[in-house]
Amino acid sequence: MAAVEVLRTDIPLNIEERTDLVPIFILGKRYYVPSTLTIQKAFEYAGYQLIRGCGCRGGICGACATVYRMPESPKINVGLACQTVVQPNMHLTMIPFFPANRAIYNLEELEANSKTLLKLYPELAKCMGCNTCTKSCPMELPVMEYISALLRGDIEQAAELSFPCVMCGICTSRCPAELGQYNIAILARRITGRFIKPRAQHLQDMIARIETDRYEEPLNKLMSTDLETLRKLYVDRQMEPHTADEMWQPDDKRFL
């Protein structure tokens, strides 16, 4: 039978008759923790005071990338420590940091094509399509697909496919072609946001309106008005209906 560790890890420990505790192996060392905890809380229960590997505690900052193996399986599993519930006999380690290549660039000077990407990240061309990155993404993103999209020159698709990336870096730690996928992806998203998606014209119009000071007087009036009038203006303001069409217009247009 294949075991994860060669060390003998079944040394008995006197613990009270607590059936809610399960053994897990943090960096190869056994701890008993309540079975309902996330890996992150299990670290704390075990006695660690987390400094590295703990950020938002809500599955979005990417600080607590974790890899683990279960006995009797060669598979490497991944998860965010703050989101993954412990399993009995899991062998785990956090990877709170993994060095990744990151290009320095001036966004304003870039051109929105794959040449830009290949120039800043020449290693992109080394992708061998092994799909290990996709298999190792705790957010279940199609990492290899967005890398392929970039190689095809489809920056926008890469941006959209990579959008929920939390930049935890597990893909990078596993990549045999030594890509820093998440840094390449944010460049694709910034190029998309800046150059590929059309700019919002209504936004430019509003900024121009504000610069003409047309709201100065109405706002100053609101600022100096008495509480009673203010409350009335607030209560009487017209609500845009939930189901209203995008181009809905209010009846009172004096303060637009």
Binding site: A46, C61, L107, Y215, Q238
Partner: protein, 559 residues
């Protein structure tokens, strides 16, 4: 995993009333909103801030006599980690033009703008650059950008109404008029806002808004803004340095009383470092990890209110700090997701809140404090809360997300809320088909250090931006105004600090006399304590383990 059989039974009641609730929504019939007087009554009776014993009067410092949460008062009435008699002020470890304390959205925006004034900048941050509440903000960012139906005038009214008309009018005016410019700035930096094919931005309602003006990027708006700003900072590495795992634990002041740097504590090597700077921007964010009244929190690990504490010790007063925001919809089931924020956008998209009978009991777009008070009322006085499995005495109510798919078409929940969809899927719950069990959770520090529109404070050389400051939101912030607050005031404070640093010719002898004064004041007030502040990290240690740590010393909560 997934819901327990008991919960699945209760969900049947929600499903039974759902078609009718969806039909009403489609017909434009909303649950009646509370009047201003009813709002007031609901707050006073059910909001946690109003509970007897929730607040305590401060006995020291510039806002002496003002009531704040007990947990905050404990932090104010505590000694510095720095001993004024022992500190060696002769060796300065870092020198810079502008020191930004805090690596979230406000701090990063400030760093970028200070750099644009020609300054060298250091960002000192407790965790990694970007591990901040900004990263966790989901719903969106408010700005009146659609001139055919909206303007800063209406945005102003909404902000005032949400804050119960107590907000600082100057700050509000600045925020609402700067708002569209900030969206333009973010768009230029490459933030991927959700847009129509012609470039028009998607906007939604938030609670307490009269126009749909919440711009968003999926359900990760804060993450998108944070990672973009951070990325831009990294491109300016020549001028902007970042010190991670290095929280500021005290400020430095020169002999003229001008703020001139800070003491940083390297959490990994346990060394203290002195940074001398010509200007300091305080942007440490909020304090959910103080767990007021034991509430769970949506905040990130480092949100312990450090900046408020050390800014106050230096002499800057606080306002609206008595008001803590409880987000109406924090997950209470499954246990692993407890405290997790469910964005208000779910309600903005039309999902009702319903009780254990499956009945709607409140309009889903009341301002947050009203919504939270109504949920607490439903679970206590009315007694129609849903019992949380495995947690005796705990209740929640349903957030009926499947309504969104019925209103907007199948797959909308998965498409519009990808992060939450994946998360619940991990726990075996499809939120496109099943409602979420929620309860109010500690979310936001409405108040903080007092500051002006340009970020300046009563102490020269010291600037404030974001959640650490107080005034713009009054006693209750509206959704989508925190991402706006941090970007607007982050930029303004960074610009002002940069200009100040450029004009400041010399920094005098630096010291911590203010700490000595504060300690003396504590003694004079008869406060004898071994508490130290700022807290730096919350204490989630296992008491059983602590019993066995025979030789370990803790300073405050930090080992």
């Amino acid at each position: 995993m997934g819901y327990t059989p008991e919960l699945m039974d209760l969900i049947k009641r929600v499903e039974k009333t759902r078609p009718e609730r969806v039909a009403r929504k489609k017909a434009g019939q909303e649950f009646p909103a509370l009047t201003l007087d009813e709002r007031k009554e609901r707050l006073e009776k059910y909001h946690p801030d109003y509970r007897a014993g929730a607040l305590r009067e401060l006995r020291v410092g510039p806002s002496k006599g003002y009531d704040v949460a007990q947990e905050f008062a404990d932090q104010f009435e505590a000694r510095s980690r720095v001993d004024p008699d022992k500190i060696d002020l002769t060796e300065i470890h870092y020198e810079t033009d502008v020191l930004v304390i805090g690596g979230g959205g406000a701090g990063t925006a400030a760093a970028l703008l200070a750099q644009e004034q020609g300054c060298r900048v250091i960002i000192a941050t407790k965790l990694r650059h970007g591990d901040a509440n900004t990263m966790m903000a989901e719903g969106g960012i408010q700005a009146a950008t659609k001139g055919w139906k909206d303007s800063p005038y209406y945005h102003y009214l909404d902000v005032l109404g949400g804050g119960h008309f107590e907000n600082d009018p100057n700050l509000v005016k600045t925020m609402v008029t700067e708002a569209p410019k900030v969206i333009g700035w973010l768009e230029r930096l490459g933030c991927m806002f959700n847009k129509w094919p012609d470039g028009k931005m998607f906007t939604l309602h938030g609670a307490g808004t009269c126009r749909k003006r919440m711009h968003y990027a999926g359900d990760m708006t804060g993450a998108e803004i944070m990672r973009t700003l951070r990325d831009e900072c990294r491109n300016r590495i020549k001028d902007i340095g970042v010190l991670e795992f290095s929280p500021a634990v005290e400020l430095l002041v020169d002999e003229k009383g001008v703020c001139s740097g800070a003491v940083l504590y390297n959490l990994e090597t346990e060394e203290y470092f002195l940074v001398k700077a010509k200007a300091v921007v305080m942007a440490t964010g909020g304090s959910g990890r103080l767990h007021m009244q034991g509430f769970m929190t949506t905040n990130h690990y480092g949100a312990t209110g450090d900046g408020v504490i050390i800014g106050y010790r230096m002499g800057v007063g606080v306002r609206f700090l008595h008001a803590t925001q409880y987000h109406p919809t924090g997950a209470v089931f499954p246990e692993q997701a407890e405290g997790l924020l469910i964005t208000e956008k779910v309600r903005g998209a039309g999902a009702n809140l319903v009780n254990s009978d499956g009945n709607q009991f409140v309009f889903e777009r009341e301002p947050r404090d009203i919504e939270s008070s109504s949920i607490i009322r439903e679970c206590t006085k009315i007694g129609k809360g849903v019992p949380v499995p495995g947690q005796a005495g705990k209740f929640g109510v349903w957030l009926d997300s499947p309504m969104i798919d019925l209103l907007e078409g199948p797959g909308t929940v998965e498409r519009e809320f990808p992060a939450k969809f994946i998360l619940y899927k991990r726990y075996g719950i499809d939120i496109g088909k099943l409602p979420m069990l929620i309860y109010p959770t500690l979310h936001y520090q409405n108040g903080g250090l007092a500051y002006e529109s340009d970020g300046s404070t009563t102490v020269a050389g010291f600037f404030v931006a974001g959640e650490v400051g107080g005034g713009v939101h009054g006693a209750n912030r509206l959704m989508g105004n925190s991402l706006l607050d941090i970007t607007v005031f982050g930029r303004l404070a960074g610009r002002t600090a940069g200009k100040f640093a450029k004009e400041r010719t010399e920094v005098g002898k630096i010291g911590v006399e203010h700490v000595r004064r504060y300690h003396r004041e504590l003694e004079e007030a008869g406060i004898e304590t071994d508490r130290v502040s700022p807290m730096v990290l919350p204490d989630y240690g296992n008491p059983e383990v602590k019993k066995r740590q025979w030789t370990t010393t803790y300073v405050g909560t930090v080992r």
